[in-house]
């Protein structure tokens, strides 16, 4: 298929590992030879089937590698200056540009340090500085945050987003972590088995994933097999009312995101939520500021549902499970989305 | 940027080809305008007694070094492995390897003296009331004495590669075996040796190649290339060239030797070296 990434846009690529995300980046960079197909920058042909037409060193593409690929034998200053030296810039100009970008990315203090003396965040910013310093026409980011501590990731994402917006830099970011994609990109594509299966805004992919696999890739989701009887989906003792005539299949897969549900001890009406039945709490764990509660329907211990809660709930207790009916996703037995409708999406399934 | 390497590497191939062409001619000092004579030089070579003696010597030296070098190298590597002190191990390893850094001229002359029946090793054996060894009494003795020099010179290689194989066995496996009550001998035969296949292949290939090409030590020890006692295939090439001056016959023998060497070298390089280096 042909896909055109517009100038100045941040494009995200989601997908399971080993399905060709990184290969796509490397094809764009010119590090990989396409077996078939063409890569164009604007109207300029870069690679064709079986050959590289413009060598990577002449493409003016910058890439931040997963492990940052800093030159261990050079200081931070020399690392950042390297692309400029290769462009045969004057010493004075190199110095000016390196100091400017170092200032912006808060690297001034460590300019004389070697990579092995840096913290993870500093290494990542050095890699970013080295990529940005030559004003590339495209910035490629390959899992740029996966080697960072979780606590550092949000600020790193914010930094990349700010820089991308300020410079209107065409950016392509590859990640298996949907948080990277949602926080930075304008448009995202999902690659499975080397093919784009869905392209759209990150919100559209999150809300209307075309298949269950895409649903899993774009964020946590509970996928529950359900029987449909009289416009109601049944999962053990849980009953989810569906709109009249909405679903014609007898068996469906219901997708519920953990953050789109609530657990209540006592039945209570909350606007936008409906009570679908009682569950028992199995495990409560705490990650990144929220409790993740695993619950099972009262009548079936083998079904696990993950719910995000802002308070701890003791295992063994019973609770009411509430869901947002407008957020529910329904897939047919072939794991394809049947509700809600796919919106504004370019799909090639 | 690969031009110098490709140039000189290319010259080797070119020279080998040239060698082959010369071997099909009848070029010698007496016949300076060579003609194509097909395989005549090879047939001439096969009629020569020296050809067969030099083959048997090469086989003796090579098999001798590969066998003794492997066994002794394995033994010494095991001894070094069980030394608790890393520095001592490193120093001892260097001592086993230093003969390879000594120019063969020096090696040959020192061993000639060590084999001297009055004032050499035999003097010491006599002092210790041990039977003296008639090093150069018969051709076979002389040849075995040469194997001993080879062993002294090249066993360090075997020690190096066996020790490397041993040391690459995961420390935790050794410790687990120790906790299970394995003795050192058990450890050697049950854990270390089964993990030394690479060490064995490398050692055997390198000892073969070094022994197969050994020229300087037999050449100097026997005084010149004319003495048949220590003549090997490679000294015979030089003999044919420099003394008989049958250039085409020398080239024919050289071609045979090169083919034998290549049969070992190329699989070793492509299936062994390259795989070990680039496995990632």
């Amino acid at each position: 298929m042909t896909y055109k990434i517009n100038d100045g846009i941040a494009f995200g690529i989601l997908g399971p590992s080993g399905h060709g995300k990184t290969t796509l980046l490397r094809l764009i960079a010119g590090l990989e030879i396409p077996t078939d197909g063409y890569v164009y920058f604007d109207d300029e042909l870069m690679s064709g089937p079986g050959r590289i037409i413009v060598e990577p060193e002449r493409r003016n593409v910058a890439m931040v590698f997963q492990n940052w690929a800093l030159y261990p034998n050079m200081t931070v200053y020399d690392n950042i200056a390297f692309p400029l030296k290769m462009a045969k810039m004057s010493r004075h100009e190199i110095d000016r540009r390196v100091r400017e970008i170092a200032e912006e990315l808060e690297l001034t203090r460590v300019l004389n340090h070697y990579p092995k003396e840096l913290s993870g965040g500093q290494m990542q910013r050095t890699a970013l500085a080295r990529a940005l310093v030559k004003n590339p026409r495209i910035l490629l980011l390959d899992e740029p945050f996966s080697n960072l501590d979780a606590a550092l990731r949000d600020s790193a994402r914010a930094l990349v987003r700010r820089i991308q917006r300020e410079r209107k830099l065409t950016t392509i970011i590859v990640s298996h972590d949907p948080a990277d994609i949602f926080s930075i990109t304008d448009v995202a594509g999902v690659i499975i088995n080397g093919k784009f299966v869905q392209i759209g805004s990150p919100a559209d992919i999150y809300n209307t994933p075309a298949t269950t696999i895409i649903a899993t890739l774009s964020g946590d989701i509970n996928l529950l097999s359900a029987k449909v009887v009289e416009n109601t989906a049944l999962i053990a003792n849980l009953r989810i009312p569906l709109g009249k005539g909405l679903i014609n299949d007898n068996e469906v897969i219901i997708g519920l995101r953990p953050d789109e549900m609530k657990l209540l001890m006592e039945p209570q009406d909350i606007r936008g939520f409906i009570d679908i039945g009682k569950v028992r709490v199995k495990v409560s764990s705490y990650t990144l500021g929220v409790f993740r509660i695993v619950v099972s329907p009262i009548s079936d211990e083998n079904i696990n549902i993950i719910v995000v809660s802002d308070e701890f709930i003791e295992p063994g207790r019973e609770a009411h499970l509430l869901i947002k009916p407008d957020k529910i996703k329904i897939f047919n037995k072939e794991e394809k989305l049947i509700y809600p409708e796919l919106k504004n999406l370019i799909t090639a399934l | 940027m690969a031009i110098p390497t490709l140039f000189f590497g290319g010259i080797i191939v070119f020279l080998l080809a040239w060698n082959f062409v010369v071997s099909l001619e009848n070029w010698s000092l007496f016949n300076p305008v060579p003609k194509f004579v097909g395989l005549a030089s090879y047939f001439y070579l096969f009629t020569q007694n020296y050809f067969y003696t030099s083959i048997s010597h090469t086989i003796l030296f090579t098999v001798g070094l590969v066998a003794v070098g492997n066994i002794l190298g394995l033994l010494l590597a095991a001894l070094l492995y069980f030394l608790p002190n890393n520095t001592q191990r490193a120093v001892y390893l260097s001592i086993f390897i230093y003969p390879m850094a000594i120019p063969p001229t020096a090696t040959a002359l020192v061993w000639l003296w060590l084999y001297n029946p009055q004032i050499g090793i035999d003097w010491l054996l006599l002092k210790l009331h041990l039977p003296s060894i008639p090093w150069f009494a018969t051709p076979l003795n002389t040849q075995l004495a040469l194997v001993l020099v080879e062993v002294w010179e090249y066993t360090g290689l075997a020690v190096l590669f066996y020790l490397a194989s041993f040391l690459s066995v995961d420390r935790s496996i050794i410790e687990a075996a120790r906790l299970d009550g394995a003795s050192s001998i058990n450890l050697l035969f049950r854990v270390l040796l089964p993990n030394s296949m690479n060490g064995f292949i490398i050692t055997t290939a390198l000892l073969f190649l070094f022994s197969f090409r050994i020229f300087d030590i037999p050449f100097i020890m026997s005084g010149s290339a004319t003495s048949p006692t220590l003549m090997t295939l490679v000294t015979y090439i030089y003999y044919l060239f420099a003394y008989s001056e049958y250039f085409s016959v020398a080239a024919a023998l050289a071609t045979l030797v090169a083919v034998i060497a290549a049969i070992v070298i190329i699989p070793y390089a492509l299936l062994g070296l390259k795989k070990w280096v680039f496995r990632r």
Binding site: G30, E57 | W18, S94, I95, A106, W113, V257, L270, K274
Partner: protein, 290 residues
């Protein structure tokens, strides 16, 4: 408990003793050579070679260094050897490294190029040099460098430049591929990548190769034997051969010649032996852990 401890101590003592015996055996030739050179001629001819000199004499060194009669002194061969070996080894390793880098990056782009290159450099490294006797002399004669320093250097390059490339091929993979790719995206061409990124990172491997090749060239007896046979071109191993036994007057002088030939290699081995051993290990694919 106590007897177990005693058994362990005895085992340890036996281990140390057995190793020590082999070490002494291995050092004996070196010892004999060193003491022999300091004996007087008479003593060297008659006294057991494993005994220390009764009278310390440097006469043999004087004799060997300046030569005597038809015997050529080792002074000029030594200088010649240094002046030729150093640049030959250095150039071999620099050019060999570049070749190795080329084969390394061709591994992924065109594996067959890399395979052929690897076969040729391995062949050149391990091939018995004697197999090239006839064409090598014919070639150097036909381009007019037979019996010259140039011819000698040329012949050394034929054998040792590919050797350097082979060893460097084994040291190069310490540079991860992603650094090379990163440098390409930073706009560096192969030449810049080699000097700015690869070379600084393989410096230890470069040193090992350099030391190894230096010692191999220094020891090479055969190449000067066929290419530089004129006494005015004698290289050290060939010149030293004049002093090898058999002649009635050469007892202590023979040992001294051995010492003079081995002096530079021994010093290098004593101080940089680690690198030489790593170079040797590379012949077997790296032997990690040594």
């Amino acid at each position: 408990m106590n007897s177990k401890y005693v058994v362990r101590v005895i085992k340890y003592a036996i281990l140390q003793l057995v190793v020590a015996i082999f070490i002494i055996l291995w050092l004996t030739p070196l010892y004999a050579m060193l003491v022999g050179g300091f004996k007087s001629n008479m003593e060297a001819a008659s006294a057991p070679i494993l005994l220390l000199p009764k009278q310390f004499s440097t006469e043999a060194y004087y004799f060997d260094w300046f030569g005597f009669g038809t015997l050529i002194g080792l002074e000029f061969p030594m200088i010649r050897q240094l002046l030729i070996t150093i640049p030959v080894a250095l150039a071999s390793v620099v050019f060999g490294s570049m070749g190795a880098y080329f084969f390394y990056i061709q591994m992924e782009r065109r594996p067959w190029v890399s395979n052929i290159g690897f076969s040729i450099i391995s062949l050149a490294t391990f091939l018995p040099a004697q197999t090239l006797t006839v064409p090598l002399i014919a070639l150097t004669s036909s381009i007019g460098i037979y019996q010259t320093y140039w011819g000698l250097a040329f012949a050394y390059f034929i054998f040792y430049l590919p050797t350097s490339a082979l060893l460097m091929s084994i040291f190069l993979p310490v540079v991860p591929n992603y650094l090379i790719e990163s440098a390409r995206l930073d706009g560096a061409r192969d030449w810049s990548i080699f000097w700015h990124v690869i070379f600084p990172l393989v410096l230890p491997g470069f040193l090992s190769t350099l030391i190894f090749v230096f010692l191999m060239v220094w020891q090479d007896f055969f190449t000067p034997l066929i290419i530089a046979t004129k006494p005015s071109l004698y290289m050290l191993p060939v010149a030293a051969r004049q002093y090898v036994g058999g002649y009635a007057i050469l007892y202590n002088r023979s040992f001294a010649a051995g010492v003079i030939t081995s002096l530079v290699p021994l010093i290098i081995f004593a101080f940089l032996g680690r690198y030489f051993i790593r170079g040797l290990a590379a012949l077997g694919g790296g032997a990690k852990g040594i």
